[in-house]
Symmetry: C2
Subunit: 227 residues, 2 copies
């Protein structure tokens, strides 16, 4: 049960982490790329803001619709499972026995489990949903909260690498400050992400920082080569 | 077993869908936003390419590292479960009985299940991993393939909304063609996505198209207002 508990408490943190990870990374790399190709900070800022808006909506709305799809899928499977339990009871019992046969449970006990489960239709279906199909009832309020959290975290994360371009006049100056600030933030953020997910702290922090650095370096070089 | 089969066959399609969905959406919206604020197509193209590179690396590398993290987490939990089965056997048996008590299984049968499972330590641990923790053994080759598939799909998807800006001279012309081409692609792509995931086809296609349209409209308006 440790796992279940763990996942529930970190739903919100997971969403913030997902949103901020991409929010820090992609606008940082995009701004770095453009800064190597243009001479005006206002273009970097305009492109950066456009990216943050587009990314936040794509992630937030995408996340919301993915949650709704999961919900639809769960109820379609639930309906089907009720149908199967009513109309193909013997087949369903056989499937239960097969699951337990795979774990070395004796035939006698397999039959007991199947027969006892079959006595309560709701519990039977709930067992099949969880253990045959591996599906848990999704929470629709959670899908909405999740979408808003991810979208807002993307915006907050994205404004960090972009802000140095507000306060400088030359894109290359903005880039230098942005790189230092963002790489530090990615490291700190990677540290807390690793803490929340129970990973080695230093390795996790370095990983997150490296994704941002590699993406920014690649965007910078390609944009420079193009221009 | 239908569900398992379904998921396996669509791993590759799911990755292409994830990569192309974002690849079509975000660069489309970004290019639309910038096109409303600048007078040269070359800036739209440079920013678009920088975004595609940054996004592909962030998604691909991010996906790869997420896969590796899942793998580490699985083996940490596996080690812990072996420890618990060896050193806290009675507690683990109690947990098994509690699972089945929740489904209305008689006490006698609960004991039989727990005792029979406990006879083979490997099967016992494998049962606990799957049914207590809901964890399945991840596939490391899959994490690598998945990362490459998502990254490449993002690039392919992203070049579609960007290509009209290669062949036009004024950003607003590029934008008009890009909007028509991309919205059609998003619709077609949403159709196949819905087919792959068993969703209503028309509603699914419209959903995917709307995310792109909303993101592009918001980026367009904000960039125009900024400039």
């Amino acid at each position: 049960m440790h796992q279940e508990q763990h996942l529930q408490s970190s739903d919100f943190i997971t969403d913030v982490v997902i949103g901020m990870a991409d929010g820090l990374t992609v606008p940082f790399a995009l701004a770095a790329g453009i800064s190597s190709a243009v001479s005006s900070n206002s273009i970097v800022v305009t492109a950066g803001i456009a990216e943050i808006i587009a990314g936040a909506i794509a992630m937030g709305l995408g996340g919301y619709l993915a949650g709704k799809t999961e919900w639809d899928h769960y109820y379609a499977e639930l309906k089907r499972e009720y149908y199967e339990v009513e109309h193909m009871a013997e087949q369903e019992k056989k499937e239960i026995r097969a699951i337990f046969a795979g774990y070395g449970i004796s035939e006698d006990t397999q039959h007991r489990i199947a027969d006892e489960l079959a006595m309560d239709k709701d519990k039977w279906v709930s067992f099949m949903m969880q253990y045959e199909l591996g599906l848990q009832e999704p929470n629709p309020a959670r899908a909405r909260t999740s979408a808003i959290t991810i979208g807002l975290s993307y915006i907050v994360g994205g404004l960090i690498p972009l802000s140095p371009y507000f306060f400088t006049t030359v894109p290359t100056d903005g880039f230098k400050i942005s790189a230092v600030v963002t790489l530090i933030c990615l490291f700190v953020f990677g540290y807390f992400k690793s803490k929340a997910t129970g990973q080695p702290l230093l390795a996790g922090a370095l990983k997150v920082m490296c994704i941002g650095a590699v993406a920014a370096a690649a965007a910078y070089l390609v944009a420079r080569w193009l221009s």
